[in-house]
């Protein structure tokens, strides 16, 4: 019989956090620091959600989503985690593009992008400045009618090469397309352009270990391998959760599970207004991903060919083609030994965007065949940048939308959360059920490592405010 991982849990917590993605972890830490008693429940045996890693025999270790985040992570980690975590963040300076339209290397910041757009693409400097300023000025309260396609059309009409240069990396960073609202592009693009791309030195495993230590210091009760079956409500208020058959009472729930799963499965659609459920059901999940993990033999080395390589043999950038199963656009994330100081190992992770529907219905046999095809075409593409790479690799495997769904329980393996409309539904949740909050990858702008951490803080503030009012009114009632 499985051991009861909730045996010594308390009967009541101020807040129960469901899920330990970066938004859940950061929300939990913030609430504990504010003095709330917090229980964090994670279904997997590792904390971190999509911020995760895995090991394979032969000393291989692969990071799933570490590949690169904006400079804002340094400030957010220092404020919401620890100085030590923030101090481990370092810049990646070698970002390469290679496709039939152009081939170049950049530090991926505003200064260098401006130079490239002027010198390489021949755009007027003033147009570039205007574009950067327009992107940076966008915020959530703006008009959301303009699409990213229209934004590019306005500044760079007829320049599919410029669109590719500006859009392809962001499509990999947040799964957005040319038809999403321009602010989903502008906010994320500007975050990156502020000072370039950064990574956590030490790897995802070290980051999550440091976060766990900090959560324990702040008194969060951390439990893994526990699946939450139900969020209990009474008279439109959260009363607790049922996990492993045990009911635990709480003042508020902060769900870091998928937004739609939270509403439709954990709470139940009958507990909400019809109009709200209609809106929630209409929220589109974002696309998923495929990855190929390549481990380099011990003793082998790789030349530095850049840190992030955006490669493609497609003639032009195309949002639909980007998710297709026979996609040729892929990002290679190069992990040299300095990513884990003290290690002498190399690894390469190839990422492509993907559709759940292309993978979910395959027979077992076809699924395996398609995975092998993905591995073969990935290695073929890599051969151009690292000749003889097959001889250097002694471990290779692939993940698909089904793999992500299996490990994270994220509906349809959605690696970028929901489309834009998900943000409003996420924010409106507490208006439907008192004490029910959601933080996670929603609305494209709240996705990625930085978006998840900051959204975790924003919602933790709402939870904390709710708890203060609730506890004060209980005190008044008692006195």
């Amino acid at each position: 019989m499985a051991r009861d991982r909730l045996a010594d849990a308390k009967d009541y917590y101020d807040v129960i956090v469901i899920g330990s993605g970066l938004a859940g972890l950061t929300g939990a830490n913030n609430l504990a620091k504010a003095g709330r008693s917090v229980l964090l429940l994670e279904q997997h045996y590792n904390f971190g959600g999509m911020a995760t890693w895995f090991k394979r025999p032969g000393g291989h270790i692969f990071d799933i989503s570490l590949h690169g985040f904006p400079v804002g992570m340094i400030k957010s980690c220092r404020k919401y985690w620890t100085r030590e975590i923030a101090d481990s963040i370092v810049q990646l300076k070698g970002v390469r593009f290679d496709n039939p339209q152009f081939s170049l290397q950049t530090t991926f910041d505003r200064v260098d992008f401006t130079n490239k757009l002027v010198d390489h693409f021949g755009i007027e400097k003033q147009t570039v400045e205007d574009f950067f300023n327009a992107s940076r000025a966008m915020d959530f309260y703006d008009d959301q009618a303009m699409t990213t396609r229209e934004l590019f059309q306005k500044f760079f009409p007829g320049r599919s090469d410029v669109v590719r240069f500006l859009m392809e990396p962001i499509a990999y960073a947040n799964g957005s397309t040319l038809d999403d609202p321009a602010i989903t592009y502008g906010i994320v693009f500007s975050n990156f352009m502020s000072k370039g791309v950064y990574i956590f030195q030490g790897g995802t495993d070290k980051l999550i270990r440091m976060m766990k230590t900090e959560l324990k210091v702040n008194g969060v009760d951390l439990r893994h391998s526990i699946c939450v079956d139900k969020i209990c409500t009474e008279d439109g208020q959260v009363t607790g959760v049922v996990a492993n058959g045990t009911k635990i009472a709480c003042g508020a729930v902060l769900s870091n599970a998928n937004l739609k799963t939270t509403i439709e499965k954990m709470v139940g659609p009958e507990k909400f207004d019809d109009a709200f459920i209609k809106e929630a059901k209409a929220v589109r999940l974002n696309n998923s991903s495929c990855q190929v993990y390549m481990g380099i033999k011990k003793g082998e080395t790789l030349d530095n060919i850049g840190d992030l390589l955006f490669t493609s043999v497609d003639p032009e950038f195309d949002s639909t083609r980007l998710c297709a199963k026979d996609v040729t656009s892929r990002t290679f994330s190069m992990y040299y030994p300095d990513i884990r100081p003290g290690s002498d190992r190399y690894a390469i992770v190839s990422s492509t965007n993907a559709n759940w529907s292309d993978w979910a219905t395959l027979s077992e046999q076809d699924y395996e065949k398609e995975k092998q095809h993905l591995i073969k075409t990935t290695l073929d593409a890599l051969e151009k940048y690292i000749p003889g790479v097959r001889q250097k690799i002694d471990h290779v495997e692939a993940s698909t939308p089904k793999t992500f769904e299996h490990y994270t329980m994220q509906a349809q393996g959605a690696t970028f959360g929901t489309k834009f409309e998900g943000l409003q539904v996420s924010m409106d949740l507490p208006k439907q059920i008192e004490g029910l909050f959601h933080a996670g990858s929603v609305g494209i702008i709240m996705s990625g490592w930085l978006g998840a951490i900051n959204y975790g803080v924003i919602v933790a503030n709402e939870v904390d405010s709710f708890m203060l009012t609730k506890l004060q009114s209980q005190q008044q009632a008692a006195s």
């Binding site: 404020k79 803080v457 203060l468």
Partner: protein, 86 residues
């Protein structure tokens, strides 16, 4: 709590939420984000610190009242006054 002390409390909180900000010469009538490189997350942190330290609640619609030091004092002084026993 007098106006001077409210100002001191706010500056102390800013020094924690924006540790890189130079607070030696903050103009009281100029918007904080125009002189200190503060973003919306920093202002959210001020709201959280006020709640944690003094149980003072700043509702979302009043966030704009924290724009400058002067407006902070004007908005928060009555709230601080309400805390002290008469």
């Amino acid at each position: 709590m007098g106006d001077l002390n409210v100002k001191k409390v706010i500056l102390e909180i800013i020094s924690i939420v924006a540790p890189d900000a130079d607070l030696s010469d903050v103009k009281t009538d100029v918007r904080l984000r125009d002189q200190l490189e503060m973003d919306s997350m920093d202002f959210l942190d001020i709201v959280m610190e006020l709640r944690k330290r003094y149980k003072i609640e700043v509702p979302k619609e009043d966030y704009q009242m924290l724009a400058s030091l002067d407006s902070c004092v004007e908005y928060l002084a009555p709230k601080f006054a309400a805390l002290s026993p008469a």
